[in-house]
Each structure stands twice: as C-alpha cells, then as structure tokens.
C-alpha cells in the first residue's frame, strides 16, 4: 500500500518496535510457522531470553559470590531478571 501526502511518497517500513515487541506482518497470526522462518512468538522468546542472559551475565559475580546470602540473590533474580524477561510476554503467554 502506498501513502502519499502533498504529492510525496511516505516511506513505509516492514517492521517497528512497540512496547518491546517487534511488530511486523506476522502479528496477525503470531503462531504461524513459515518454512525457513521462525514464528513471531518464537522469535520474541529468543529475543527476551537474550536480554535475560545479558542481565545474568552482568550479575554473575554477585550470583556466584559464596558470601552473599541466597535470599538476597533470589530477590535480585526475581526483581532484575524476571522483570526484564517478562516485559511484553503477554504476547506469547501460554
């Protein structure tokens, strides 16, 4: 579809990010598996996992510290890792 304003073509994009979710043509059917391509939900899950991995690697010295109380480490994981990974996961849910 072309959008024209004042005789000028408005450039269209195939993908954009909104509230942490990469919105593209697959949004209408996020579970559809196209050959040689990931479904939108799977791609989103991988993306979130990558973010979580980044956080736990940043926290690694803290998490592997033997002198730090376990309760504190668990609270840290719940507050920093879960919240980061669960952002926008209403999309993939069950």
């Amino acid at each position: 579809m072309l959008y024209i304003m004042e005789d000028r073509l408005i450039p269209s994009i195939k993908q954009y990010k909104y509230l942490g979710i990469n919105v593209d043509g697959r949004l209408g059917d996020p579970r559809k598996v196209i050959p040689d391509e990931q479904s939108m939900e799977l791609e989103f899950a991988h993306f979130q996992a990558k973010k979580g991995m980044k956080v736990i690697h940043a926290l690694q010295p803290f998490l592997t510290d033997r002198f730090c109380p376990i309760v504190l480490k668990v609270a840290m994981a719940r507050n920093l890792v879960y919240s980061k990974m669960l952002f926008g996961t209403e999309l993939i849910g069950f």
Binding site: I56, I70, G93
Partner: protein
C-alpha cells in the same frame, strides 16, 4: 527463557551452569523462583481480564477495540485475541478443580479423600488463579508462588 532462570538458579546455589546432578525444577521450587511459563500465563490472563472488565471505558489502546470486536474466524488464522479467548474458555473448568486438600479420617475406617476448597480459590486474583490452575494442571504438587 527457562534456561536463563535455570542458569541463575544454579549459580545462586554455587553450581556450575552445566551441572546435571541437580534437578533444576526442584532447585527453583526450593528457591521460590516460579517457572517462566506460569508467570507468562498469569500476565496474559491478567491482560485479558483487564480487557474484559472494561473499567473506566476500557484500555486506551487498539487492543481494546480488537478485543471487543474480534476478527471473524478465517480458516486456521489465529490472532492473539482469538487464541486468548479460546484458552480462557478451555481452562475455565480447571480453575477450581485442582484446589483441594487431603483429609485423612482417623480411626478404624481410616481413609484418604479429597476435599475441594472453593473459598481458597476466591482469595486469589483472577489472573493469578488462572496461572495457578495452569500450574496445577502441569504439575502434581500443591506448591504456589501466588
């Protein structure tokens, strides 16, 4: 995503991330780290209930419009809204089914029977209740992170 949590749980307990001697689900259970799919289910159910409740005119997003007037079914085309509605409909029967307690009658006729506690279910918020029901369906213990 669960792998990330598993790795964090192992590090917290002072294990190597490739350690296989320890069951990670048990470890997460002991540490109080809920499985990631349960959290995601609860989040999705929470959003669905928000959209369903329509408080103060509903959410100010396109999702509210799409939820109120979902796209008519067209073959195998499954949108987020249609999948959510289908899932919530399917899980409805399980909401109270798995909240039970064991009662042991003492005496000569000792027996174990199940008792359903609907009043306990009512204490949970609806979306947590759905996450809870989902978890109880997948697991076979009475642990709750809600």
């Amino acid at each position: 995503m669960q792998c990330v949590i598993n790795m964090a749980a192992k590090w917290i307990m002072g294990l190597q991330h490739h350690n296989l001697q320890c069951d990670v689900m048990t470890l997460c259970y002991e540490l109080g780290l809920p499985p990631i799919h349960v959290e995601m289910c609860a989040l999705r159910a929470r959003l669905a209930f928000k959209l369903e409740a329509h408080t103060e005119g509903g959410l100010k997003t396109w999702l509210q419009t799409l939820y109120d007037k979902p796209m008519p079914p067209r073959g195998n085309f499954q949108t987020w809204v249609s999948l959510t509605k289908k899932w919530l409909e399917g899980i409805k029967g399980d909401l109270q089914k798995y909240t039970y307690s064991f009662i042991v009658d003492e005496g000569d006729n000792s027996q174990v029977r199940l008792a359903y506690e609907s009043d306990k279910v009512a204490l949970l918020r609806e979306w947590v209740q759905i996450g809870h029901a989902y978890k109880m369906r997948n697991w076979s213990n009475r642990y709750s992170s809600a």
